[in-house]
């Protein structure tokens, strides 16, 4: 760890008092949303140099994957980005399914789309609420968490869990969708667009919000690309790139939605992009709700998917498959895949290397927060210390996702 104590005073020309100050922000700081340490070199109120120190939430999840059977790995993925657990479930499952060459039935694909879009709403709501809170608008937080609660209830209805859902499994879904699941989802999605209007009423033309966000935390598109930034950050800099459109997965090519972009690449533009993304996600959820196909919730692949509980009581084969799957897992053909999806924060990808056994040889998570956080110094250097928190909020990183 670098020593962040006060630096020796610099020689100043006219014998004036030294102006440079090193300020240690975090690791325990409410606006870092996790445990991030920032070492700021200040000249008066201007940030001269910023250096993020990460790793406080490093849990060695990638190492742990190597000790687990493939199907056990699903529950680890929830814990990486704890604001978007289903996006991580989806990416991991898609990667393993690609290795296995498994076809997923339409119901499972559409249900995955519906739930990952609800996850995007969930994540953006937490972002909006906490970002506004950081910048000083308290009430937005309460509105956002009201809607988030509805989404968490929907997750609980599907999977029995509010946050660590693990609802997507290799081959499909963990459980068939519960009876009557349409009503709560429909009720939520009918009301949601008017809720976004409410947030906009609170912020979009609010003069304080505008002055705290417009022209703050700017970074040109070239620099963002060079630094490995993805997702809404790039779209707010004018690049209409969304993996859901560019490399559709899980049936996204069947849905109509637009990629919102802005050119300003400041905190306000990122706010506008994410708000419009919420409207687009609501559109996708509505389409998925109305066109939901019927059929099986998991692929017919007895060597991968756990058998039906009912069948286990009557069929010997089902019982044997169940026993084999739970005790030994399933073997995955050797090879490697890189599966990318558009998570709420940007490009989320799993790189999985298989050696042909029932446990992955290597699982690498290319997490969007890690790539995005690297551009933080570029955004805040040269700005005022008061804008550091606004810039950090606009990045929307999750430290669990950064440190893994």
């Amino acid at each position: 760890m670098r020593n962040a104590g006060p630096e020796p005073p610099e020689e100043s020309p006219a014998g004036a008092a030294p102006r440079r100050l090193t300020l240690n922000m975090g690791p325990q700081h409410p606006s870092t949303h996790g445990v991030l340490r920032l070492v700021l070199d200040l000249d008066g109120e201007t940030v001269v140099r910023a250096e993020p120190e990460i790793g406080f939430l490093h849990t060695g999840i990638e190492k742990e994957f190597e000790q687990k059977l493939y199907q056990q790995g699903v529950t680890l993925t929830d814990r990486v980005d704890y604001l978007a657990p289903l996006s991580n479930n989806l990416c991991y499952c898609l990667a393993v399914e690609k290795l296995l060459g498994l076809e997923i039935p339409p119901l499972a694909q559409w249900m995955r789309v519906l739930l990952t879009e609800l996850t995007r709403l969930n994540s953006h709501l937490v972002w909006l609420g906490t970002h506004a809170l950081d910048v000083g608008a308290m009430s937005v937080f309460l509105y956002c968490f009201r809607e988030r609660e509805d989404i968490l209830r929907i997750f609980e209805m599907f999977s029995g869990q509010r946050m660590m859902t693990s609802y997507f499994r290799i081959g499909g879904l963990a459980l068939a969708p519960p009876r009557g699941w349409h009503q709560p989802v429909r009720r939520f999605i009918e009301a949601f667009p008017s809720r976004v209007d409410e947030y906009e009423e609170l912020l979009t033309r609010n003069p304080i919000w505008l002055r705290r966000t417009q022209g703050v935390g700017r970074a040109p598109l070239e620099d963002l690309l060079d630094l490995g930034v993805t997702g809404p950050m790039l779209r707010a800099a004018g690049l209409a790139w969304d993996i859901r459109k560019a490399e559709p997965y899980s049936g996204y090519e069947q849905f109509q939605f637009e990629i919102p972009t802005r050119r300003e690449s400041d905190v306000y533009a990122r706010y506008q992009v994410r708000l419009e993304e919420m409207r687009q996600s609501a559109r996708i959820v509505r389409q998925a709700l109305e066109g939901m196909p019927s059929g099986r919730h998991a692929a017919e692949a007895p060597h991968v998917v756990l058998p039906d509980r009912e069948k286990m009581k009557t069929e010997m084969e089902a019982l044997i498959y169940h026993f084999k799957l739970v005790t030994e897992g399933f073997r995955v053909p050797p090879g490697e895949v890189y599966q990318a999806i558009e998570s709420p924060r940007g490009e989320l990808a799993y790189y999985i290397v298989s050696d042909g056994s029932a446990k992955p040889w290597r699982v690498y998570m290319r997490t969007p927060s890690f790539g995005n956080l690297q551009c933080l110094p570029r955004m805040i250097e040269g700005g005022l210390i008061a804008d550091v928190v606004a810039g950090m909020g606009s990045l929307d990183f999750v430290l669990g996702d950064v440190d893994r």
Partner: protein, 164 residues
Amino acid sequence: MLPPPLQAIPVLAELQRWDPSALLEGKLDRGEVTLVIEPGKILEVCRRLKQEGGFRRLSSITAVDWHPAAPRFEVVYHLHNLETNQRLRLKCRLEEGAELDSVTPVWRGADWYEREVWDLFGIRFRNHPNLRRLLLPEDWSDHPLRKDFPVHGRRYDYAEEGAP
């Protein structure tokens, strides 16, 4: 040498014409292109791929430990071309203790990825501007994603203490 389906991709054919010795192997598997690059030429290959091949984005850098096989490590680069929507995987095979050129002059974003590989695998990158540990504390001595790094703690043995 590149197999025929890869030679049909103009960027790769170009790369092979430029320096056949830089490309050791190539394969197309499950729709994904993998090239094995001569470790000494990784920086030049990356520069060319970015400038002439349009691979403006570096998605990630990571490594795989094949212990006890030799060569032990593979450093894996994932590149992405936004215009053609093409993804490309580059690999360098390394023995333990070998070093690679840093690609930070090509993509500044490689900084943290290379630091992470150093931290977790112990592979050094030449000319990296700031090759310190990234995730683990600086006084940590091991590289935990190596396959010979234990997952469990040492089993406590009562006999060692001479307990009854």
